[in-house]
Every structure is written in C-alpha cells, then in structure tokens.
C-alpha cells in the first residue's frame, strides 16, 4: 500500500492519496457475483444457468460500486493507522480509480485539533446560588390552593368585577341585525381573563345577578372573521349569576388529598419544601454546569473539524425532525430545512465535546463505581419502585454508560468550578425554576 499525505498549511483538513492492491477487493467481487449467479434471472436462461461472463458484463459495475465503499473505508483507516493519524469524523473520498490489480483514491479528512487547556483559574464563571425560603413554600401552597379552587355563586348584591366569574347569555347585533356566532347562552366567563374581544369584559364589570344591559363593543382590526373587522356591535347581555373564586381551606382534607397521610400542615410544608429543594438543586446544577462549560468554551480558541460539525448538525436536524413529527406534523409538510441552520450550535457542541474530552484525559476523571451507584440510587428515588429502576439500569449497559457520561461531565464541571474564578449570584427560587422551564 502506498500512502502519501499532504499536510495543510493552516486548518485541519489533510489530503491523502492511497494506492493499494485490489486482490482482496476482486476476490470479494467474484464471490458476490457467484452468489448472485445462483439467483439472477435473465431471459433465455434457466435460473442459475446464466454464464459467468454475461453476468459480469451486466452486473460488474454495480457490484463493484456496492463493495467499493467498504473497501475504501478499510483502506483509508489502514492508511491512517500506518501514518499515525487520528481522523475526526468520516473522510470525503474524491477521486477513486479502479485499475487493473490496483485501486487508487484521494480523500480529504480532518484531524483532531491539539488543544492547549487554559489554566482553569483564568476562567470567570457566574455561579448561581439560591435556596428555598419560607415565602416560596407559602407561594407554592397558594398555587396549589388556586388549582383546587371552585366557583361559588354569590347573592344579588355582589357586583361583577375583575377576578369574578359570570354566567351570561349574550346576543350580538350589527346595526340591529344579529350576526353569525354572536349569540350564546349560559357562558361562563372569567372577567379579566381577556378571552373575549377587548371591551366586552369591561362592559360587564359592575353588573349584578339578573341584570340586563346592552353594551357597545368595537371588534379589533385583526379579528379573524372578515365581516366583523373593525365594526362596532351591540351586545345584549343577561347576567345569570356572579361567582367568586373560593380557595379551599387549608384543612386536613385538603392536605390529605395530596397524599399526605397524617394531614398536618407541617408535614405538607416539609414535603413541598423537599420537592422544591430537589427541583432547585437539579436546575441549579444544570445551570451552573452549563455556565462552567460555556465559560470553558469561550476561553479556548481552536479549529473545529468540519466533518464532525457536519455530522453533528445532521444529527441535530434529524432530532429536530423527529420532534416535529412527534408533535404531529405530517412528514410531507416538513419545512425544507437543511442542516445549515444548526451549524453554529453544532460547532459549539463539537468544540465543547473535544475540550471536555481533553479535560477528562488531562485530569484523569473517571466515574467510580460508588459514584455510579449513588447516581442510580438518586435517579431511582424519584420513582415509585426504586428497586425496579435500579434493576433496569443494571440490565441496560447503555443506560449505565449514559449515567457514567453524566457523572464525568458533572465532575468536570465541578473541577472547573473549584479552580475557576467564581462570582456568585443569588437569585430567587421562582426566577430560576421558571426560567429553566421557559
């Protein structure tokens, strides 16, 4: 095998040209043709009786094409081994020539960049810290109450105001004539919710049970019904009842309905607090890890192998497509996306992947068995049958590997955190959890 590599003056893209004997390849082609011969059908011949030379004339190029990819792949990586390169991603084959007894090809490939890790203490990171406060627990309980709230009809003296619900009939008229879709009976409407056209709810404010009134409302210019745009309509409104929101009392029953056995407020607070703390820890960890990695990524300037970026972008595109499909977008209607739109993000990811890989190597970070066990146990604790989940992890080596990856990643983040310049920022619980949810 003859190999010559052309090094670039700049960047990572190398050129290689390889010539190798085609004995193996020819033998494989011959073998494949022999296999085909038994099944191939041709007019004028019984199956399996087609002469070899006819078969060759008709199918040789096709078979060669089929097997060439594999042969090139092996030849390329053999050549890489021989020359001591470690190619990143898959090479691009340019010029392939089949000659008698020889195959020649040229290929372009990227190598992994050499990374010089910066001293971690030169990295600046904004670390977010937060804790669950009593007010946060209060807020959470209030939210729970609101979720369970019910509407209670009020007496005649209660006037409709923002935050109350009214049950109404309404008839909409345009210049004295009823229009389509402008009529409804017994509609519950929460005032201030903004579900109706602007002005409609305002008109109801102040009305009482049993009252009737006509209000004038102008439809907005962007209204979806063509004939109503910008028109002013009269609505005859009858209020059947005015209801206010009733929060359930914080009593034993309410607490028990959340599955808390002894029904005391203290247990509930503790439970909620625990949950919130777990949630907070998770988001904080994720956020801080991201911050550490972002900072790390910014502190390093390397050339990123193009082929890796292209691969990553392809994967991202695929995932994106899958997500769209899961959301119910039919395949044919997919917008004509190309992997290009992900290339920036992909570049970042590849770069980070390379850098983190290097950090792991440089500092010999590994996931120990104990760490792994702890991680699995923690994951399992969030489920109802922790033992089953643990078992499941054990039976899926792939999952275990994923777990290992997560552990090493956070170990890297910790390492960076511990050595870098960390500026702490305190934030409220709501701010962190809701921003991560958004």
């Amino acid at each position: 095998m003859q190999v010559s590599v052309e090094k670039p003056e700049q960047g990572l893209e190398h050129k290689i040209s390889v010539t190798f004997p085609s004995n193996d390849f020819d033998a494989k082609v011959e073998k494949r043709l022999n296999e085909m011969r038994r099944t191939v059908k041709m007019d004028g011949f019984r199956p399996g009786k087609v002469p070899m030379n006819m078969l060759k004339k008709r199918y040789l190029p096709q078979v060669q094409q089929e097997l060439l990819g594999e042969a090139l792949h092996y030849a390329f990586f053999d050549a890489m081994d021989k020359e001591g390169y470690n190619p990143a991603g898959y090479p691009a084959f340019d010029d392939v020539k089949l000659e008698k007894g020889e195959i020649k090809f040229e290929a372009r490939f990227d190598v992994y960049p050499t990374i010089t890790l910066p001293a971690f203490d030169s990295i600046e990171i904004e670390k977010t810290v937060a804790e669950v406060k009593e007010e946060d627990v209060d807020k959470m309980i209030q939210r729970l109450q609101e979720q369970r709230s019910a509407w209670k009809p009020q007496g005649e003296e209660q006037a409709a105001e923002n935050g109350t619900q009214v049950i109404i009939d309404f008839v909409g008229k345009l210049d004295g004539v009823e229009f389509d879709g402008g009529k409804a009976e017994n509609v519950p409407l929460e005032l201030g919710s903004g579900r109706m056209i602007p002005g409609f709810e305002d008109g109801i404010v102040g009305m009482k049970k049993g009252e009737m009134k006509t209000i004038e409302v102008t439809f907005p210019e962007q209204y979806q019904a063509e004939h109503l745009k910008g028109k002013t309509a009269q609505f005859d409104i009858t209020v059947h009842s005015v209801q206010t929101k009733q929060l359930p009392a914080l009593d034993e029953e309410f607490i028990k309905s959340f599955g808390i056995e002894d029904g005391t407020i203290d247990t509930m607070r503790k439970e909620i607090r625990d949950n919130m703390e777990r949630e907070l820890k998770r988001t904080l960890d994720a956020q801080n890890r991201q911050a550490a990695f972002d900072a790390l990524e910014k502190s390093i300037e390397i050339d990123v192998p193009k082929s890796l970026v292209a691969q990553e972008a392809e994967t991202m595109l695929e995932n994106y497509m899958k997500r769209l499909e899961q959301q119910g977008m039919p395949k044919g209607q997919m917008p004509g996306l190309t992997a290009d739109i992900f290339s920036e993000e992909a570049k970042k990811r590849v770069k980070l992947g390379l850098v983190i890989g290097d950090v792991i190597k440089a500092h010999d970070i590994k996931a120990s068995e104990a760490d792994l066990d702890a991680f699995v146990a923690e994951q399992a604790s969030a489920y109802e049958e922790p033992e089953e989940i643990k078992q499941w992890y054990k039976e899926n080596p792939q999952r275990l590997n994923e777990a290992r990856a997560v552990i090493t990643e956070s170990a890297v983040a910790k390492k960076i955190m511990s050595e870098a310049k960390v500026a702490e920022v305190t934030k409220a619980f709501d701010e962190i959890v809701s921003s991560s949810a958004a």
């Binding site: 004028g44 009786k49 002469p51 030379n53 006819m54």
Partner: protein, 98 residues
C-alpha cells in the same frame, strides 16, 4: 446489395443457453433474421454492422407452434435463424451494448 436491405436483415440476437454456449466454444453467434434472408445477405450484414469477418453462415427455419385457443386451431408465427461463425479470434458482444 443495397445498404438499406442489409440494415433490415438482422432482427435481433438470439440469446439462450445454447447460443451462449456456441459463442463461447466455437465463436458462433445466433441471430433472428427476416424470413427471406439469404446466407449471403446475413454474412454481409454482420460484417458491415459489427465490423468483423464471417467465415460461414448456417440458416434454419423454425416453424411456429400449433396452439389451440378457445377451441380454435392456430399457428404461431415461425422465425428464421442464422448461425454465424466468425473467423478465428473474433468476437461479438451483445450484452454491454455498443
């Protein structure tokens, strides 16, 4: 003999197990030809179209099979075949197409 006639004489190569055997072992090639083709015409046609030298030509008439379709007797059309022997060392290639 006009060029026009020669272009009409050969109808198709006859591809079969037997014909490929013949081609391989004694460089004889089988063609379907027009029913009124003569050996001489076939020879000239093959020589001019494929640019080879022909040693000899044998011809035969193959009668169509008798078939009964919906109770009625019928005959399929027959065909005339020519077996062309080329000079030693020459060959024809129908498969890869010129």
């Amino acid at each position: 003999m006009s060029q026009e006639r020669l272009l009409k004489v050969l109808l198709a190569p006859h591809v079969s197990e037997k014909s490929s055997l013949l081609a391989e072992s004694q460089s004889q090639y089988v063609f379907k030809v027009t029913p009124d083709a003569t050996k001489q015409e076939v020879k000239l046609a093959v020589e001019s179209l494929f640019n080879v030298k022909v040693q000899s030509v044998n011809v035969l008439n193959q009668k169509g099979k008798r078939k009964i379709f919906k109770g009625r007797q019928g005959v399929r059309s027959g065909s005339r075949k020519a077996v062309v022997r080329l000079m030693a060392g020459q060959e024809l290639d129908f498969v890869s197409g010129e």
